[in-house]
């Protein structure tokens, strides 16, 4: 492989980003939208860097990370064991499948009024509604992972004398892990999205969602795009984290 082709290989993921920034810069240059509404990429990146280093972006960034992590942790603790139990009994899963699919299809923002009633208007609502959305995605995937565990390996364990619990803990759960990781990646993305929307609409004085709304209200568009970058970067980083973890811990997945 030549140096050039190696360099091209390394930078391939950045091609899409470069195209996006070029289209954006061109749109700004041609004044396709009013410059007040669409600042240049340079102005926006400069605002991002300034807000992060000398401004208050990091404070909002960390609040969103804390809320997302809390919501995801709660979702994980509840959804994984429940998913394993439901997945172990297909009849049980089918009996509540409608509920899971129904709430998975309901926009989280439509659930805000209910969660406001249940948890009040403080921090708990934002975390609870995000945990709820993430838990459904994790539960669904864990249950399907368990249900679709390869029968061959389960039977082999049985033949070797393992009891039902041993088959579950030593074979089925490990077999379901690749699908569980898919659920975790989906769940963490859902948790982040819901936390940001909740910060926008259900009473928050900090967080990236509230920052985006406030910047839009005062038409500080570079600052608004800076907060959007931060949200996107956070989502990307979380996804990457789970991908790395998945590759490291479930290297047998799909084999």
């Amino acid at each position: 492989m030549t140096l050039l082709s190696r360099l091209l290989e390394r930078t391939r993921p950045l091609i899409g980003v470069a195209v996006l920034v070029a289209v954006w810069a061109l749109a700004h240059q041609l004044r396709l939208a009013d410059p007040v509404l669409l600042p240049s990429p340079a102005e926006s990146f400069s605002a991002f860097w300034k807000d992060l280093t000398v401004g208050t972006l990091w404070a909002d960034f960390s609040k969103t990370i804390i809320r997302t992590t809390a919501a995801f942790a709660i979702a994980l603790v509840i959804a994984v064991p429940v998913g394993v139990v439901l997945g172990s009994s297909e009849k049980l899963y089918r009996s509540i499948e409608f509920l899971i699919d129904f709430f998975r299809s309901t926009p989280a923002s439509a659930m805000f009024p209910l969660f406001l009633v249940l948890f009040g208007v403080g921090e708990r609502t934002k975390i609870a509604v995000a945990a709820f959305g993430a838990a459904l995605a994790i539960l669904f995937n864990v249950a399907y992972g368990v249900m679709n565990a390869r029968k061959q390996r389960q039977l082999a364990a049985k033949v070797m004398g393992a009891n039902a619990l041993r088959v579950l803990t030593d074979v089925t759960i490990w077999e379901s892990l690749p699908q569980t990781f898919v659920g975790m990646r989906t769940g963490v993305s859902i948790a982040l999205v819901i936390v940001i929307v909740a910060e926008m609409f259900i009473g928050s004085t900090d967080g990236l969602g509230q920052r985006i709304m406030n910047a839009q209200m005062v038409f500080d568009m570079p600052q608004m795009y800076a907060a959007i970058f931060a949200s996107g970067a956070l989502g990307y980083a979380l996804n990457l984290l789970f991908l790395i973890a998945e590759r490291r811990f479930v290297h047998w997945g799909g084999k």
Binding site: V36, V121, I202, G203, N214, M217
Partner: protein
């Protein structure tokens, strides 16, 4: 003249007459962004009582749920006017993009013309704003509202997070938030406060707080929202803008003095029907009639917005009002 020529001539004349007639009576179209609240009243008065029609203007109502959307629509040219745009947001966009809009009318608010106010739970023992020490408060959403609330509390000697905490809440959830005990009180706007009071959930602690504590004169009017015309409408169709302002002027007069106009509050502006006869309203003032003192109060209000960071730079009050 042959029969065919006669028919052609007659048809052409009829068509010409028709077109001529149509041109003479064609109404000029103005797209108007409306934020559905009680301060949009003059618009609906002008619309329903035919004042726009009488001056040859046909309006298209574009209901927009937030003020940033109204500003964005003015910037992109999607609307030509806004019935009740928050003045700090109007000043802010003019600071960032000069000549985006000019106000032809403003809604004044103070303890007589009640809009913004602090409320507490009906059972609260608080008698003044200073008694909010230790309270957990909500605020009407947006940087302008929460900034004003904090500035007022600072003016009465309270420090955020030491003496009180405050959190933005959408207007729609404030009654429930107060009733459920999640908050001790908050900074809210009409007609939400009147609804809280009617339901026995809340009590008005002090109204007109911007005038009293920020402008330094309880009688002064805080001009927080008003009717704005877009720069292109004023520049490219000055005659239409002038006729729009004339119709608005009649309607503002009705809104200030004619009790019957209040019927429109329930019909078009999300005010509960049983509250419409008594809900407090802003005082509608035409910008061409502003006295030097009133203009000074407006300037002071805009300067407060600048100090709160809601307006991006110093804005001259005269530069955002039109005298049509």
């Amino acid at each position: 003249m042959k029969r065919r020529d006669f028919v052609s001539l007659f048809s052409a004349s009829a068509l010409g007459l028709g077109l001529g007639t149509r041109q003479a009576f064609a109404a000029d179209k103005v797209k108007v962004g409306v934020f559905p609240s009680s301060s949009a009243l003059p618009y609906y008065v002008a619309l329903k009582r035919g004042y726009f029609r009488e001056v040859g203007i046909e309006t298209e109502t574009v209901v927009l749920a937030t003020h940033p959307l109204i500003v964005q629509s003015l910037v992109t040219g999607a609307i030509d006017a806004a019935t009740n745009l928050v003045t700090l947001e109007g000043a802010n966009i003019n600071a960032r993009r000069p000549n985006t809009l000019s106000y032809i009318s403003l809604g004044g608010q103070n303890s007589k013309y009640i809009v913004e106010q602090f409320v507490v739970k009906a059972s609260s023992t608080a008698k003044t704003l200073a008694d909010l020490k230790g309270a957990k408060l909500f605020s009407a959403p947006g940087p302008a509202n929460i900034g004003a609330a904090k500035a007022v509390l600072k003016a009465v000697g309270l420090t955020e997070n030491t003496d009180y905490t405050i959190q933005e809440q959408q207007l729609g959830v404030q009654l429930g938030a107060l009733q459920s005990g999640n908050f001790d009180g908050g900074y809210t706007l009409e007609p939400i406060a009147s609804i809280m009071i009617r339901n026995g959930v809340g009590r008005r602690l002090e109204a007109g707080v911007i005038s009293t504590h920020l402008l330094g004169n309880p009688q002064a009017e805080a001009y927080a929202a008003g009717c704005a015309l877009s720069g292109p409408l004023l520049k490219d169709r000055p005659d239409v803008a002038k006729r729009f302002a004339a119709a608005w002027s009649r309607a503002a007069q009705d809104a200030n003095t004619d009790v019957a106009a209040r019927d429109l509050l329930a019909a078009d502006m999300n005010v509960p029907a049983d509250l419409a006869p008594t809900v407090p309203l802003a005082h509608f003032v035409l910008t061409k009639d502003l006295t030097a003192a009133q203009l000074g109060d407006f300037q002071k209000f805009l300067d407060i917005g600048t100090s709160l960071g809601v307006v991006s730079g110093k804005v001259d009050a005269k530069s955002i009002v039109a005298t049509l």
